[in-house]
Each structure stands twice: as C-alpha cells, then as structure tokens.
C-alpha cells in the first residue's frame, strides 16, 4: 500500500477512459444507419457522451484525486482466488448441478474468508441443500440438477 502510487492510479484510469471514449466514438461513427425521418439518429448521443467522457478523463489525468488503497500481494492473490471460484461456480453451475457446485464453492469461499475446514464443509452442505429447497420448493425457481444426474436417471 505505498502511498506514492495514488495519483498514478487516477492518471492511468483517465488514460484508459480516454481510450474508452475514443472506442465509443469510433464505434458510433461506424454505425450503419438506415434512412430515418428522425433528425438525430443513434450516433449523436453516444458521440456526445464520448466527448464528455474524454473531457472529464482529461481533468482526471491532470488533476488526479487522492483515493486508492490497493491490495498488497497476498490479498491480490486471494482476490484472484475468489474471482476464480466464482468463475468455477459459473462454469459448473449447469454441468454439475446447483447442489454439488454450491457445496464445493460455498465451502471453498467460507475457507477463504477464514472458516476452519470443518465449519466450511458443514456450511457448504447446509447452504447447498437448504437453499436448493428454499428456491425450488419455496420460490418455484428451476435450478439445474446437473447433466450427470440426468444421465443416471
């Protein structure tokens, strides 16, 4: 958490946003618009926004704020782990089914957030089963059971 990097973050953000503004503008200009009776069309609004965004971002580049507490390495690693877990959750959600995936992901998340293994596993099991019945029986949501189960049945 070195303090000297603070303005850099905002400057970098400003530059990225100017890039975004340019991208938005180019995309808008390249829109192929069929003839219409409307004087404005779909291009003008995004174009105006991109000009506004570029202007604001320039202000940010030249007058960066003082905010920013960036995670140190251990935390950044954990952050990536949590993101990875959420990604795994998304990937296995329909393949493995809601219950098994939730059990795995909940247990892993609980562990990452400081629970002991035993507690994490119990939490995973309880939440996976409990929420499944709450959502399906209680709220009538259809949740995936998983392809493997379908194959067995």
């Amino acid at each position: 958490m070195s303090t000297s990097t603070k303005p850099v973050a905002d400057r970098l953000l400003g530059i990225c946003l100017i890039g975004l503004a340019a991208f938005v503008a180019v995309q808008a200009i390249n829109l192929e618009v069929p003839f219409s009776y409307e004087p404005v069309g779909p291009k003008a609004f995004p174009l105006g926004l991109s000009v506004l965004l570029a202007g604001l971002s320039l202000t940010l580049v030249f007058k960066p704020g003082t905010d920013g507490h960036w995670p140190h390495r251990a935390l950044a690693l954990k952050l990536l782990l949590v993101l990875g877990l959420l990604l795994v959750y998304a990937m296995l959600f329909t393949r493995l089914g809601f219950m098994p995936t939730s059990l795995l992901v909940v247990a892993a998340l609980a562990r990452l957030f400081g629970a002991a293994w035993s507690k994490a596993l119990i939490t995973g099991a309880l939440m996976a089963v409990g929420s499944y019945f709450l959502f399906t029986a209680g709220l009538g949501i259809v949740l995936p059971t998983g392809y493997w189960l379908d194959a067995i049945i």
Partner: protein, 505 residues
Amino acid sequence: MFDFLIEGFGVALSPLNLGLAFLGALLGTLFGALPGIGPINGIAILMPLAYTLGLPAESALILLAGIYTGAEYGGRMSSILLNVPGDAGAVMTTLDGHPLAKKGLAGPALGLSAVSSFVGATIAIIGLTLFAPLLAEVAVMFGPAEFFALMVFAFASMSVMMGKDPVKTAIGAVLGVLIATVGVDSGTGVMRYTFGMAELYDGVDFVVMIIGLFAISEILLMLEHANRRDADTEIPPLGRVFVSLKEVLYCKGAIGRSGLLGFIIGVLPGTGASVAGAVSYTTEKRLSDKEGTFGNGDMRGLAAPEAANNASAAGSFVPMLTLGIPGSGTTAVLLGALMLYNITPGPMMFTERPEVAGGLIASLYIGNIVLLALNLPLAGVFARVLTIPRWVLVPAIAILAFVGVYQLHSDLTAIYLMLIIGVFGYLLRKLGFSLAPVILGYVLGGLMEQNLRRALSISDGDVGILWQSGISLGLWLAAAALLILPWLLPKLLAGNAPREDVEDG
C-alpha cells in the same frame, strides 16, 4: 385530490400486500443490519427473488419499498453498536450513536433511533402525499425538452452533492449512461455496442447490472476485511431495550426540524441520505449544542440524523414518482424495478396507474408503523445478526446472486456478464468512485436519449428547443449554477479572506 391515496389504502390493506409490507420490512431490516450490506446492496440482492414470486406491479413495489425503508433502518444498527456505518447515509449516526452504546445505553439508542426514524419518515410521507400530486400536475406540462433539461439538472446536482470527487461522480454517471446505450436502438433498430452477442440485443439486463455492480463487488471488497479482527466487533450489552418517553420528548425539536430538513433534501434529485444526515447533524449541533455534548453521546445528536435519513429516504420518492427522476441511488434501483414492469414513473402515473402510486404511498405509511412495531421489541434479535461471520455471509450472497441472475433466462452468459460487471464495480470502488451515479446514469440514460431525440424530432433538428421554454431554461441555468458555484465561491471568498483557510482546500 386524494382519491389516489384512498385507492392506495384499498390496495395496500389487502391481506397479500399487508403481508408483503411486513415481509419487506423484516427482510429489509435483516439485510440492512448484516455487516457490510447497506440498503442498496440489500435491495439489489433481494430484488430478483421478489420477481420470482410473480407479483403484480404494485405488490412487488410494496415489497421492495418495505425492503428499502427496512434496510435504511437496519443499516443503523452497525453504526450504533459497532461504530461501522453500513452506508454513507449512516456516517452521522455513528457520531453520537456509538458513544451512547459505549455508555451502556445501546438499547435506548436503538429505541430512540427507531422512534426518530419513524417520526422523520412520517413527516416526509405526509409531505410526499401533499406535494407529489401537486408536482405531478406541474410535471404534466413537461415536454421532452423539459425532461431532458431536468435530467441534466439531476446529474449536475448529483455531481456536486454526491461523493467526494465531482469529476469522478460525473464520470460514473457518464459510464452508467453509456452502458444504457448498449442494445437495439429503439428509434432505428440499429445495434449499438452489442458486438454480435445476442444476449446484449436488449441491453445490459437491469438485474445483471445491479447484482454485478453491488453484490459481486461487495464480495470482492469484503475480502479485505475477512481476516482483520476489528477491535469493535464485540457488541456492547443493549441494556434496557425501550427508550423512555422523556428521552424522546427531549429530542422532539431535533426530530421535527431534521425530519423537515431531510424531506426537503430528499426531494432534490441526487441528494440522498448522506447529505441529509450531515446537514441535519451540523444544523442541530449549531442550534442546540450548548454544553458541547454532541459527539459524546448526546441523544439529540443521534435523533437528528436518524430522523433526517429516513425523511430523505421517503422524500426521494417525490421526484421518482412524479418526474421519474430518482432522488438517490436506492430509488434509482426501485425505478429500474418499476420499468421492468413496463411502468415508467412520471406525472401520468397518478392518473393512469393510481393503484401503483397510491398503493406505494399507502404502503409507506403502513410499512413505517410495521417497522416501529418490529424494531422496538426485536432490537436484540436484529443486533445478533451483526455477529454473523463473513465466511457465512459471503457464500450466501454468492448463492443469492447466482440464483437471482440464473433464474432470469436460465442462461450462463448473464452470469458471466454479472461477474464482469462485478469486477468493474470493484475497480470503480477501489478508485474512489461512488456507485450511485453509475446506477442513476444507467437507469436514466435510455430516457435521457429518448427525450433528447423526441425533442429534436419536434423541432426538426433545431437545438434551440432544448432551452426554449421557461421551465427548461430555468433548469439549465440551475444546473450551470450548481456546477459553477462550488468552484467559483471559494475563489471569490479567497480574494477577501485571510490565507488560513486556503491550506485545507
């Protein structure tokens, strides 16, 4: 002129809606009290599930409004008991609330907060009942040009009032409006920023947006506190749970004044509970802090921001219901929820959908009483919620977020999009952005463009129509004044003032 209210009570007092108001207040208080989950996150997480119930629009809105007001109240618990404000609006509550709890008066502090919230909200709901129909009558005369100017004014007022950094607030709003341009352009049928993805043809889904932006980014943000042992996580003993009538009467001036103040601030677009809390606290401190007890556990210092917070929460319904312009981030979420039901709030709602407008206002009266009845006796139970460890909370939020988004279309693309938006929201928050302008921009963006294009269609491309009428010209000037004054005033003052106050600027 109060026909809508009578019809509204008819709607709100049906057993189903009464039950929903109760359920909303209960769930809202619980979610608001959860550590780290403010009102806006609470609504974001619970809203998709409210949809699965298949409720009619007015019932869904009653449930969500109950969650909203409940969460605003529940959010104060961690301020008082743990000195951790649940959201920006609760910061002022900690100043005298936590010292009171340390003195062993946690129970009475919670009770007083409930009573002040109740009175403040009641003042504002009465104000809402009186002024909303009047404002709606004026707003009926608004054409597209006036609405466009009004939205510009709302964004200007938000940039100045919300958040620490006006430039970042404005950037957030522009990013939100940009996200709103994704999808098929309604005027011409042209695809904008869809990159060939069929899932984006209808634009970025509202539920995906708010869950990603609030719930997922919250999970990532919570990681920073996961292993930190806060010194204050011990909940102080509540002591006696009820606040005495004498204590309430001692604060009656503070509550009344702050309630009115909060309502007025809430009505202004873009200025939500945080401004209301801060203004009322400083006002009350100046007016009644004769012995210098504010900040050391003065009951009036707790009552004032609490009354103002809740009054502004109700007050922000005025611009939302009558003009379709949300007064705060949370009402922006509610507005988006209404749009999902194909109801665009605005001046016509009081005449065309009186059951929605009236039902909502009536349910605010009812929900407010339910909240008081719920919170006085159950303060102890709700306080226990604060001790739920993050390793239980985070997986639960993850499940709710995934199921909430998955049930929309039984589709994984929406989940991936939610995760991307979540990372985007996390980065914005780390960079010192407030998310409320983003969501406001996202919700208003479509309407803003529509009104602009409609206005220019009427004038056949002549830009002058945007400031032709007195109303729109006034709004443009007000917006300009808002943007220039904070920048100009210090310079004018600095010319005459001695140098001492330059250094902290």
